[in-house]
Every structure is written in structure tokens, then in C-alpha cells.
Amino acid sequence: MAGMGGRMSTVIKAKINKLLDKAEDPGETLEYSYQRQMELLQDVKKGIADVVTSKKRLQLQQQKLEQQVVKLDTQARQALAANREDLARTALERKQFAQTELQSLDGQVQELERQQQGLVDKEQKLRTKIEQFRTKKEVIKAQYSAAEASVKISEAATGVGEEMADVGLAMQRALDKTENMRARADAMDELEASGAFDDNLQLGSGGDDIDRELHQLTEQSVVDDDLARLKAELGAGTPPAGELGAGEKRAEGPS
């Protein structure tokens, strides 16, 4: 339909218009269906609440992980002090894994905050435009002939209708994002339940599924560095920090 000029934008515009056509005549919607507008505003409110709930849940996970990181670091220290490098390594691997998750969570929380703010702004904007439309409609009716007024009101209604469609789109996108993060949060909870961040590192254990998985997930070098750091701090018979690059002393992980 559209030529090369403005193809991308035209596609979206056409679709929004189609959406409006389908929805009902925006003029009529706005003239008569106060309820429809309130429903949409309610939907947006619900959408915002949804985003906030997800955000809070992620923040809770953040807190838990932060505690885990501290705990695992302490455990690694204790393990090393007891000459159990294998155990220390496992603890540090878990710590590294938890830290990676933490970073990812930080990003997600920020994203949800952006979404939340965006929806709050859009809701306010829509509310203002609807109110403005009500006022404007009366003014137009008073100032213009019936035929002219009808055209002008319809124009304004299309404008508000576009805003309504845009709010709907913003909400849908925010909820899609929230949904993705929720799935991830579920996975995290499951992982936690399975003991991936378990703080009871049993002596002699370390060969179970979680550990094997962790080995794969973890960047060994980070753990090596971390281990070397702890050793240096504890002075546990390893080279000082300056010689960390040598790598000869790297012990095998738990088998």
C-alpha cells in the first residue's frame, strides 16, 4: 500500500488505526463510554501494580543473593583455614555464580523501574487528555455549527483514541517484559530450592549434580583468582598476590 516513503511508520500507523476501528468508533467511545476509558485506566493501574510486584520479588532475590555471597565468602575462608581447598573452591564457585545472578538481577530491577515510571507517565498523560477532550468537546459544540463541531470532535476523539491505543501498547510491552523476568525469577527460586546456593557445604560432598553444573557455569579463572586472593589473605602457604599469574599451585577441583 504505502510506497517506500515512510513504510515502517506507515505500517504502524495503519495498524493503530485499524485497532481503533476495531475497538469502536473512538468518537462514540469517548462521547458515551466513560466506562470504557475508566476500564483502560484501571487496566493501566493493574499493569503498574503487576510491574511493582515483580520488581519487589526480584529485589527480595537480590537481598537473598547478597547474603549468600557474604556467607559463601566466609565459608571459603573457613574451608581454606581448615586446609580444604576443594571445599573452598566449591564455595567460591557458588559465590561467583551468585554474583553473576546478582548483576543480572540489578539490570532487571532497573528495567522494571523504567517500565513502571513509563506506565505512570502514560497513565497521567491519558488521564489529562481525556479530561481535556471533555472540556474541549463542550467548547467546540458551543462555538461551531453542528456539522463543523462534529468534524472537530471526531478529530480530537481520534487523537485521544490514538493515545489510548498507545497506552495499551506500552502496557502490553511492559507486561511482556515483566512476564519474561517472572519466568526467570521462577527459575531462580527453583534453583535455590534445589540447593544451588545452599550454605551447608558438607565435608566430602561436592560431586553432585549441582556441583557439576556449577563447574560448567562458573568461570574458572574468576574462582582461581578469588581463591588465590583468599589464600594470600590467609597466608595459607601459597604465593603472594604478585605471583598469582604463575598458576602452578592451582589445585584440582573436587572430583
Binding site: 517506500m4 516513503g5 515512510g6 513504510r7 515502517m8 511508520s9 505500517v11 504502524i12 500507523k13 495498524k15 493503530i16 485499524k18 485497532l19 513509563g118 502514560k122 497521567q124 498523560k125 489529562t128 487528555k129 481535556q132 477532550f133 474541549k136 478529530e155 480530537a156 481520534t158 487523537g159 485521544v160 490514538e162 493515545e163 491505543a165 498507545d166 501498547l169 506500552a170 510491552r173
Partner: protein, 92 residues
């Protein structure tokens, strides 16, 4: 010319910008068709920047229908591709 960045705001843009916007739009289409994500992102960002820097935001109390609607700024490349072949952001 009234331009909307979907899910954000509307702007009043000088008519002289229409030509530039059109060029960028065409280039964006080409980049999508060529599967060149990096180029698409670059052009799309330029489009958004043009509207944001040259445009004057339309007040919440003003009501206009847009002449042009630009997709949301967080549009993914996959979504951009769908705009031309599939259902697009808003399903049919």
C-alpha cells in the same frame, strides 16, 4: 508535522524534517531487509534522536492525531523485521 514515538510521546516537528525522516525510514527498511542489525540500530537511533532533538514535545493537554508513528525505542531487531513481514507489534 506531528510525530509520535510509540509508547512515549508526541512531538511537533518542523516540516523540513519530513524529508530527512523519510530518508532514514527508507534506510531502516533497507537495513532490516539486508538483515543488518547494527546498521538498523544506528539508523533507528538517528531517527529517534532527530525527533527528540528537533521536535517540540506536545503537551498532555493538547490533542492531535499523529502524521507519523515511529515504533517504540526499545524495538528489537526481530520486531523490526516482523513489521514488514508478519503481524508486527500490533497483531492483525
Amino acid at each position: 508535522m506531528i510525530v509520535r514515538i510509540a509508547t512515549e510521546s508526541q512531538y511537533r516537528l518542523p516540516d523540513e524534517d519530513a524529508q530527512r525522516l523519510n530518508e532514514l525510514d527508507n534506510q531502516a527498511v533497507e537495513a532490516v531487509e539486508a538483515g543488518d542489525e547494527e546498521r538498523f540500530r544506528q539508523i533507528f537511533d538517528e531517527m529517534l534522536e532527530l525527533v527528540r532533538s528537533d521536535g517540540e514535545p506536545i503537551g498532555d493537554d493538547e490533542i492531535f492525531e499523529s502524521d507519523v508513528i515511529i515504533p517504540p525505542s526499545d524495538l528489537t531487531f526481530e520486531e523490526a523485521a516482523e513489521e514488514f513481514t508478519g503481524d508486527g507489534l500490533i497483531p492483525d
